[in-house]
Symmetry: D2
Subunit: 366 residues, 4 copies
C-alpha cells in the first residue's frame, strides 16, 4: 500500500476525482493470457452504478469502462491494464456551497488542512466515486481468478441496515433480487419501508456488509504483516465510510471462551481436512485454511444529509450546512460490489504472492 | 507491508521464532538524532513480559533487548536499527506433542500445508512471542515521536474480557495499577475472579482492547489506500489472534443515522476547529482531524487450552489434543502494549510520509 | 521499482502500448500546490516528439498530453495525476511482418517466450513510445522541483555518436540549436553528415548521453540500497536500449589511482564546502555533495534496420528480416529528453524522501 | 529498493556498522525447503574475508555468520532468515583522526551534512564491511537457486586493474588460483607486481569486475522498471565505490552500428533459439534470453590512501589528511564476491517474481 496503490504483485493504483474528466485504475502485475473484455468488467460496474433505484444517488452516470492498455485480442498481455471511466454527468452547480463550508463527517476539512487545496466538486478524490475504479479492477481480478483458480466464488451482501439485522433464514438466491443485496426477501421489504421513511426525512443510515470467498485453496497469506486477514482488513478499511472490519467471529471473539471458539479438525472424505465450525473465518495464522473466508465491514451513514448541521467555513466562521444534491440515504448499499472487488483483488494478489514464494503448497496431510 | 515488513518510511521487519536463538526487529528509516537507549526500550518490553502475573504465561524470559546497530553515542544515526532479543528459556520439551498434531485455532495446520516445514516449537514464527519485537520497535517509535512531535500520548487498555465490559466510569490512572490494563479498579477485581475461575478450569477467554492516541496533529494520512485508518486496521489485524478492528464508532456505525453520527464543527477558543463529538475516531477521509485517534480490536481466546479438543495428525489420523505448557488464559492482556506499539509505529510512519509529501500542513482556517 | 512503477514517494507508473488507444503515466505522491498546466508538460514532450527532423522516426504523432486528474485550478492537489497521451497515428500495416518473425535486438522473442502473447504492433509495450510517458512525468517533476528547490537545473546532451565523440570545447548554448542536442556547432555538422550517410545505407548507430543536474542541495540519497546513484542507475538503465550507466568518472574510475581520483575539499567563500574536482559526479556514499550530479548512459544502435538479418519465426523456422517502417537511425537522439526526465523524477523523489526521514540537513560545517 | 532493503520478493535488508557490535542481513521471502547451513554461507564469506592476502586490509575478522532465524533442521522455513556477523576486531583507535576531518572520496562529509551524526569508526554504515552482509545473503540466494533452478552458475572475476586489462586468453580455472580473481595466471603475476609497488607508495587503484550468470532460463525480468538489467544496474551500483555498470556491450554500444550490434537468431539443435553473438548481454527488453547474463562494473580506487590530501574539518578549517589504518590498495578485489552475491540475489528475486506473475514461460517456439 502506498498512498493510492494497493497490492503486492497485483497492484492497483486508482486515480481521478468525482468531477474531473475521468477516473480509473492502473493495474500492474496482472497475469498474461487472462480473457477479458470491457463487457466483462462492465457487468460489475453496472452493479454499483448510481441511479439504479431510488435508494442510490440519482446522478446519472453510464460509468462506461474503457480498456486503454494491456489487453490484446481479448487477452491480457501481462503489461499494465489501464481501466478508464469518463465522467459525463458533472453537475458542478449542485455543490457550490461546499467550496467554503466544511461538511461534517466528510474529508473536506482534513483535505483542506493537509493539502491547502482540494477539488471540492463532489468530494473530489474522497468521493465514493473512486470506488468505481476499484470495481473495475475487481472485475479484472475476478477474470484472472477464474483463469488461475477456477471455482472461487466471491459474494457480498448486506446483513444489517441501521437497527435492522437480516431476519429469518438466509436465501442467497435473493441477493440480486432486491436493491439492498440482502439474502432475504422478507428483510428487503422491511428495509424498503424503513429506508423510504428515512430518505424522505432527509436522514441517512449505516449498514453492515459481509463478503464471503468460497473455494479458496489453503495456503494463501503470509506471516506476519502479509497475513491474508491483514490485507483484507486494509482493503476493506480503505473503502470510503468504512469504520470497522471483522474476520470470522470478529469483534464477538472477545466474548468467547477458548472452548467455544475452537474449530475442531477432522479428516474429510476427500482426504482433506474439514472443520467443525468456522469461527476463524477461514484464516489461521494469517493463512487460508480452505474454509470460506468471511469478512464483514461496517459502513457509516452517509454524511451528506438534508438535516441542518453546524460547521465552520474556511474563514473560520460558524455556519449551518444542509448538503443538497444527489446522495444515497444508505451508502452501504453501493459498498457491496466494492467489498467484493476488494476481496477479489486481495485473493488474486495472494495467489500470485504464494506462487512466487512457494510455487504450490508443500505440505501434505495423510 | 510485505510479508514480514511493516510501514512506508519507518519500516519495521520482524524476524525470529519462539524457540530459536533470538528474535528481533530491523528498523529502517528512523530519523536521525533521536535519543534512545536500551533501557528506554526495555520499559515497554517489561510491560508485555510473560510471567508478570498469574494471568500470563509462566515462561520466564528476561526479554532483554540489545541495540546492535543504528545508534551512536545515545542517538539514532538514521541507519537501520537492529533490536535483538535473545531467547533464553526455551523449554522445548513442553511442546513435543504438537510436532505431529495440529492444534485447533493455531497456525500449525496452515503453516504445514503452505510451507511443508515449520518450526513447531512454541508456535515458531506464529508464536505471540513475535510481538516482543513489535514492542521493541514501538519503543523506538515512541522516542522518535517524542522528538518530532512532542506531546503525543499513546495509551492502550482493555475494555472487555469475555462477557464482562468495563463497568462504571473510566479512571485512566488505574490502567497501570492492575494486571489487566483496565481503567477501573472495580472492574479489575471482577475480572480477577472471573479469570481465575476460567484459568483453573483450563479454559481461556477473548478480550477487547482500545488504543487512543492523543494530540496527534491534523493532516496525517493519505488517500486512498494510504489512509491512516487503513494502516491502523492492517497494523492491528496483523497482531496474533486479532479478529476485528474498529475506528471510532466502528461496527456500531452501521446502526447510526447520519443525524446521530455527525461530528459537528466549531471554532475553538485557540483558533483551531473543535468537534461536538468524535464518532469518527479522529480520522476523516483517512486523514487525522486533530481529535483523539481511537482504535479498538478484538483478541480471540487463547487457542491453547487444557480442554481436550478433536484434531488430526500430519498423517491424517484423528487425535485428541490438550495443549499443555505455559499459556495465558487471556492473551488479550499482553496485546495491550502490542497495540500501543503498532499505534506508535503507524503514527510515526505517517508523520514522516506527511513531511515527505507535504512538508507541513498547507491549509489554514480562519 | 515494481514492474511498471518507479520511485519511492514520487511514484510514476507508466502504462500503454505503442499502438493501443493511449499511453500515459499515473503519478502518485506529487506534492500539492505545484503550478502545472498541460502546456508546461507539452514543452518537454515536444522535445522528444518524433518527426522533428529527418534523423528521427517520421511517425507523425502530436503526442498531446492531457491531465485527467490531480490538478485543480492550475495546481496539483496532492492526489494522483493522470497524464494521458492518445495514440493517433497507428499505421499498423507497416508492422505486419513482425507478428511472426522475431526482430534481432528487440524484445519480440523474450516477450513471446515469457508471456505467450504480445501486442506486436510497433513493439507494443517495449516500444520507445513508452518513454513519452516518462517525459510527461518528468515535466511534472520539474515543476515540482521548481516549487520545492528553485534553482535546480537539469540538462542532457549527446557526447558521442558511434565513433565520433564531441570535439572541441563544449558550448552549452548550442544544445537546443541542433537536432542532436550536442553542445558544439562543429560536432553537429560533422554528425549530420555521418548520420545521413548511415541512414541512407539503412544502418543505425549508438550514442552516449550525459545528463547533469546543477544546484542540487547536499544530503539527497540514502544508504545503502536507496543511494542516489543506485536509483539513477536504475532509472537510466530502465530506458529502452540503454546498456550502461556511469556516475562521474564512471567506468574510467577503474583506471585511476586513489591519488588521482581524490576530490579534495576546501572551504568556499560562502561558507560551504567546495571541491577541487568532481570525479565523484556529485555523489559520495550515495548522498549528494552539492556539486553537479553527472550521469552518462550509452544507448545501443536502433535494432530496426534495413539491412537483412537472420532470425526465426514463432514456428521456429529460419527467416530473414528487414525492418521497414519509420525508425530513427540513432535512437539515442530522442533519449536525451528521456534521460532528463528520469533525472528530474529521481531528484524530486529523493528530495521528498530526504524531507520525510530527515526534515532538513542536520549537520553544519564551520 | 527502500533505503536499506533490496529486492521485490526475495528482500534483503542489511544493517550494521563497521565497528558496532554486529552487522547482518534480514532476508524475507526466501522459499521454504531450501537446504542451508551456516557452513554453506561461510564459504562465500571466506572469499571476501579481509586479511587473506597482502592486497586486502589486514583487519582480522573471522566474519563468522550465524543463522538466527528462519531455518529449522537444516532447511529454510519460508520465514525471515536473520544472518548475523559479529564484529570482533574493532580497533577503533586507528580511526581517531577521522572523527573530525572528512576524508576525500568518502561518505564522511555527506553523512555528516545529512544526518548531523555518524558513527565515524571505520566508516560506520558506509564501510565496505556492509558488503559482508550482502555476501551472506547471496550465499542463501545461491542455495535457493540450486534448489529452484539447478544448473545456474554465477561467476565473477576481475578484468582490469588500473591501466592493466587482462591479457591473453581467459582461463576460468585460474580465477580461484590467484588473489585477484583474474582468469589468467600471466595477468595475475603482472598485477601482483603492479599492486605491490602501488601499495608501498601508499597509493591505491581502481578495478573492473565482470560477473556472468550462466544457464539462466529465458523469461526473467519485466517491463519497464522491473527489467532484469534495471535491477542488476541498481544492485551493482549500490555496492560501495562502484561508479559504472554495463550490460553486454555496455558503454561500447554507443560506438556500434545496428548491423554490428545485431545478435542474429537461429534455431538450435535442441529446439531452442541460439544467437550468433551476445552483444545484448543476455537481456532483451529487460527479459533474459537464455544466453549468459554479462554484467560489468567499475570500482573506484580506495579513497583511503597514505598520500596526504587536502580537506576540511567539521569546524570548517582546512586540514591535511593521511588515512592510516588497514586499507585495501585495490578494493575492487573484494568486490568480486560481492558482485556475485548481488547477481544471485537479483536472479533469485526475478525467478520468484516470474513465477508469481506468470507461473512458467507461456510462449513456445517451433
Amino acid at each position: 500500500m502506498s498512498l493510492n496503490t494497493f497490492g503486492h504483485l497485483f497492484r492497483v493504483t486508482t486515480w481521478g476525482e468525482s468531477h474531473g474528466p475521468a477516473l480509473g485504475a492502473t493495474v500492474d502485475g496482472c497475469p498474461p493470457g487472462v480473457e477479458i473484455t470491457e463487457d466483462m468488467i462492465q457487468v460489475w460496474l453496472d452493479r454499483r452504478k448510481p441511479g439504479t433505484s431510488k435508494y442510490t444517488t440519482q446522478r446519472k452516470e453510464p460509468d462506461q469502462v474503457r480498456i486503454l492498455s494491456g489487453v490484446f485480442e481479448g487477452q491480457t498481455t501481462g503489461t499494465p491494464v489501464q481501466l478508464m471511466i469518463e465522467n459525463t454527468d458533472q453537475r458542478s452547480k449542485d455543490y457550490g456551497d461546499i467550496a467554503e463550508k466544511f461538511r461534517p463527517g466528510h474529508a473536506d476539512i482534513t483535505y483542506w488542512q493537509k493539502y491547502g487545496i482540494r477539488d471540492h466538486r463532489g468530494g473530489g478524490r474522497s468521493s465514493a466515486r473512486e470506488t468505481a475504479a476499484r470495481v473495475a479492477a475487481g472485475g479484472l481480478a475476478r477474470a484472472a481468478l477464474d483463469s488461475l483458480a477456477p471455482g472461487i466464488e466471491i459474494e457480498g451482501y448486506m446483513t444489517q441496515m441501521g437497527p435492522h439485522r437480516i431476519s429469518g433464514a438466509r436465501d442467497m438466491s435473493q441477493i440480486t433480487q432486491n436493491p439492498f443485496w440482502v439474502p432475504s426477501a422478507e428483510t428487503a421489504t422491511l428495509w424498503a419501508d424503513y429506508l423510504e421513511t428515512l430518505r424522505k426525512s432527509g436522514n441517512s443510515v449505516g449498514a453492515m456488509i459481509e463478503v464471503v470467498a468460497r473455494n479458496v485453496p489453503p495456503g494463501l497469506g503470509a506471516p506476519v504483516y502479509g497475513k491474508l486477514d491483514t490485507d483484507l482488513a486494509a482493503a476493506m478499511m480503505s473503502i470510503n465510510a468504512v469504520k470497522g472490519v471483522e474476520i470470522g467471529e470478529g469483534m464477538a471473539a472477545a466474548m468467547l471462551t477458548g472452548e467455544d471458539n475452537a474449530d475442531e479438525i477432522f479428516m474429510g472424505d476427500d482426504g482433506r481436512p474439514v472443520y467443525s465450525s468456522n469461527h476463524a473465518g477461514g484464516i489461521l495464522g494469517g493463512i487460508s485454511t480452505g474454509q470460506d473466508i468471511v469478512v464483514r465491514f461496517a459502513v457509516k451513514p452517509t454524511s451528506s444529509i438534508l438535516k441542518p448541521r453546524q460547521t465552520i467555513t474556511k474563514s473560520g466562521e460558524a455556519a449551518e450546512i444542509i448538503t443538497k444534491g444527489r446522495h444515497d440515504p444508505c451508502v452501504g448499499i453501493r459498498a457491496v460490489p466494492v467489498g467484493e472487488a476488494m476481496m477479489a483483488c486481495v485473493i488474486l494478489d495472494h495467489l500470485l504472492l504464494h506462487r512466487g514464494q512457494i510455487g504450490r503448497n508443500r505440505g501434505t496431510i495423510g
